[in-house]
Symmetry: C2
């Protein structure tokens, strides 16, 4: 099977440009499509809070409730703020575009860099958490979590290379199952707690000894970890054009729903975790522990774990739409290589998808598939782009002063100030646990964007025809490099003769006896082409030829030398290794010579 | 520092062909040069025997004496046999050449394949044993044995890439130090044993419980392991031309010396090991244990370990002369790729040296630097080439019937029969311990040799000018692939116009608006070259162009199409990644098209 057939099997047949179309989503479908990233964080956000608090011992775990409330308030603020963005950007307000529009290019690039990192982490964290949901239910799979994580990433990558077109249908079932499952868990759990049905279990709670003091810093660190709950909230405002009309209105409604559902589920799990007295374990997630206690080890439990795993994989999937789209915008503006700007065979941005999948899989391998290890890297980028996006809106209201701008200004100003404060808290409390990577990487990415842009601009300037005067006609010399005289060389000589009237054969002498034999043959078969013999005291094939070439090039500035190399094309690839080493060497050496063109003339062997 | 400067630093400046000369060796120098491989096996052969016997418990160790005697007899037989080869091949009788001469090509290739494997194993085993001598003296280095082994191989490889010219001087001191050191150890050890000075140490001998029965099979396995003592004995007969005249006579004398010294040292160590009651240990070699007991932990002990290590590294070094030389012969006869047939800058066969070093280092890593793990692979190839070489001599005497051939026939027949029997014993007893690798690899290598040879013969036939009639003159079409119109494209158009009077520009349309802009520019700057616009419904740049190309090629059999691609050469390599993707794609796709030549025309950017 050749490569094309394999690609077709895995990725599908090419689609025509005319087949690109926009699917318009109803509110319920849109909620499913745009909320999976945000809602899926319910599966791990509470656990990340507890995991920090437990450092100060079991007694410190009751701080999860006030921290949870703070995060719920934060969600409300961010959601309100983004509802303003939807109004202002009915065509979709991604943070890169909004920031570049209102605050300028450099802040826009910061936002873009932060988002690119964030999308990679969304994939890595979501898949790691999805695998954790799976291995909580089936502990025998725990040793294979890294392999499982990489397998999930590969699957999602392949799916996206095909182009997942039925997104509404695909997302609806797992998302609503997850919402329903967690809701039932919370309601039934609260009932059991109210009536004291699980009193025995609560008493059995293990007491974990503190290793850290319960400081304000530790509480803030726990809060910073919990902020992972907000990741993905911006998705609705990025995707406004996908809604059925009236787009903006529908999107605002869906975003409000999302906020209410997210707060409810997150607070519910946090409340249960507190009152069912579960502690974080390496092999089993908090949600799994709760579900096992409340539902027992039956079909409800496994159903909830399955839908948790699915929504997390879907959350990863959203990044596969976002990352390539952002790369496309950056490439279009000249900040990323042009390769990101073109759609592949299946109307998707293949390069972005491959890079995202590859990097996320690498992170899963490096961090051994651990959600906890990845979390400190996660939220910095998200909140930085929140802050820049809200700050852009603040500036926009001031500049435009549209009717009613004052109170909208206040909403966005509150959003910007709050999320900015959170960036600070996360950076400080998580810095040594991994946030430094992201803090360091963002300026590196921005510098990369800027230098790519500068390079493209520089090249465009050098190539511009503005005020250009046509150079004088070119002079041209054609040389045929000869090692022997056979059918392949005769083919190359014939070809060279069509290029220019005066062609020369060039031969580097390693052994005078061979030269004599070649010259004899040349008289008969050389077609009147003169043969230049260069001697080589050091057995180098290359140096004498390079010296000769320099001598020719010295003739004039607009003088081109074409070097024709007879090359075999063998029937099998391995046979290729038995020939053509000289051709390869010469091409490599002359690649960067000015005014030199190297032309292989293939001679096809059976 | 560029690559050339690095190469010069590590490998040295190129040498002229005229600088190739032969160093002639006196008998004492020759003994040093050609015996290091054979003698160095004294450092591990006894240990390998004991290591097998001890499986049947400490009591079985006394079988080492009869096994040692059998091996000594074997050495005498092989040495006598090779003394005949020297007479018959005064220009050097490597097993490949001798076998090919007398038994035909296929047996010659078997011998060649066996020897190539053997040389790789000589390097791996000798270096592993050399590192064992070092770590026996300095046990704290034991955990780093793999790294040390790879470092030694790298050093020897680099040394050989430079070309080790002072070989006589280099070899003499360590070899004679080693011979003297082991001799003193044996004599002094026998004296101490005779007078019972080490009685206390003997009593302290640890008793090891048997895990295997003492079967004939086990004794034969121990014998097979001990046969490693014979590796390298053939070196003298391979190197006859390096001796001072009368070459053959001197070589025969040196080979006899070598036999006597080898038997004495090997039997001496085996005797001491038996009577000092040492048992093999993972961290300390037998020779080291003996030297520590007999000399004590002083300067004599460390001196002996150092000279053991040195001679083992030198033994590895001999393979670095043999492997590339054999590869050269095989390449010259068309059984290996031509690359092995040419000397590098420093008059050495660089490709062979690099492959030998790389493979040996790989083996050391795979076998964790353990001599014992490598030994079962080692002797099969050596004895197979012994057998074929002796059998060749048997046939030669019959065919030539030179004066006195009868008794010479008997000597070689005994040699061939004995070594053939040993091949059988080694293969059977060591098969499951690793010999299967070599037994399987030899036919694979032979098949590779044969198919390479067949390929070269086939190509030569296809290219031969025998009865060839000149093809009719070529027709030629030149296309310039255009994505935009700028200075680089104008440069390429100018170049293309020097190639043929009728040039066409070809543009693949992805976006009609861009086509319109291009056509506007083309009117002003297109130099009258016609522009062909191809439409692409699937956004593929390639497919419409390939279809157009097929259409052109259909014109006639002797019609060549040259595709000129304007390519940027950027100032820095990373900038290259930002351009030229299309050029790369097109070159890859068209590489195997018949009658198509792809020509990059570089445009140099600042």
């Amino acid at each position: 099977m050749n490569l094309n057939a394999l690609k077709k099997l895995l990725v599908g047949s090419p689609l025509a440009t005319a087949q690109a179309r926009h699917e318009r989503l109803s509110k319920t479908s849109a909620l499913a499509v745009f909320s999976s990233d945000a809602l899926s964080s319910v599966a791990y956000a509470t656990e990340e809070i507890l995991l920090i608090l437990v450092l100060a011992g079991t007694a410190a775990l009751h701080y999860s409730i006030p921290i949870g409330v703070a995060i719920a308030v934060l969600i409300a603020v961010v959601v309100s703020s983004y509802r303003q963005t939807i109004l202002a950007y009915p065509l979709g307000g991604g943070s890169y575009i909004v920031t570049k529009d209102n605050l300028g290019t450099l802040p826009g690039l910061v936002s873009g860099g932060a988002l690119l990192i964030d999308y990679v982490l969304t994939v890595a964290v979501s898949v790691a958490a999805g695998v954790a949901a799976l291995t909580s239910a089936l502990p025998s799979l725990y040793p294979y979590r890294v392999v499982l994580g990489v397998a999930f990433v590969t699957l999602v990558t392949l799916g996206n290379l095909r182009g997942i077109r039925e997104s509404g249908k695909l997302f609806a079932l797992p998302t609503y199952l997850f919402i329903a499952g967690i809701a039932v868990l919370i309601v039934y759990g609260v009932i059991r707690w109210t009536f004291g049905w699980d009193a025995a279990a609560h008493a059995a709670r293990a007491v974990i000894a503190p290793t850290h003091d319960l400081t304000l810093f530790l509480v803030l660190r726990a809060f910073a970890s919990g902020c992972a709950a907000l990741t993905g909230v911006e998705a609705v405002s990025d995707g406004v054009p996908a809604f059925k009309p009236p787009e903006a209105k529908n999107a605002r409604v869906v975003l409000a729903w999302l906020g209410v559902i997210l707060i409810s589920l997150f607070m519910g799990i946090t409340f249960l975790a507190r009152h069912y007295g579960v502690s974080p374990l390496p092999e089993e997630t908090i949600v799994s522990q709760l579900a096992r206690q409340i539902f027992g080890d039956g079909v409800f439990y496994y159903g909830l774990q399955a839908s948790t795993m699915l929504i997390l994989v879907l959350a990863a999937n959203t990044a596969f739409a976002d990352f390539p789209r952002l790369s496309f915008f950056l490439a279009r503006d000249g900040f990323l290589p042009r390769q990101f700007g073109s759609r592949g065979d299946r109307l998707v941005f293949s390069n972005g998808i491959l890079i995202l999948g590859g990097t996320a899989a690498l992170l899963i391998v490096i961090f051994r598939g651990s959600t906890h290890a990845l979390i400190p890297l996660y939220a910095v980028g998200v909140f930085l782009s929140f802050t820049l996006s809200q700050a852009s809106m603040v500036r926009r209201w001031i500049v435009r002063r549209e009717p009613g701008w004052q109170w909208r200004w206040w909403v966005n100003a509150l959003g910007a100030a709050t999320t900015g404060l959170v960036v600070l808290v996360i950076t400080v409390t998580k810095f040594s646990h991994g946030a430094w990577v992201v803090v360091g990487l963002i300026p590196i990415l921005v510098m990369m964007f800027v230098s790519i842009h500068r390079h493209y601009a520089d090249v465009a300037g050098q190539l511009s025809l503005e005020g250009y005067t046509m150079p004088p006609p070119m002079q041209h010399t054609v040389l045929v490099l000869v090692g022997d005289l056979h059918k392949g060389v005769i083919h190359a000589l014939q070809y060279a003769q069509t290029l220019a009237p005066s062609v020369k054969g060039v031969y580097v002498e390693l052994d005078p006896e061979r030269t004599r034999r070649l010259e004899e043959k040349w008289i008969k078969w050389g077609m009147g082409v003169p043969l230049v013999v260069l001697s080589s005291p050091y057995r180098s094939l290359l140096q004498p030829f390079l010296d000769y070439l320099d001598h020719l090039l010295a003739i004039g500035e607009n003088h081109m030398v074409t070097i024709v190399i007879p090359e075999f094309v063998t029937a099998h690839w391995w046979q290729h290794l038995l020939h053509n080493q000289t051709a390869f060497l010469i091409k490599g050496t002359l690649l960067f010579r000015k005014n030199v063109v190297v032309t292989d003339v293939p001679y096809h062997l059976r």
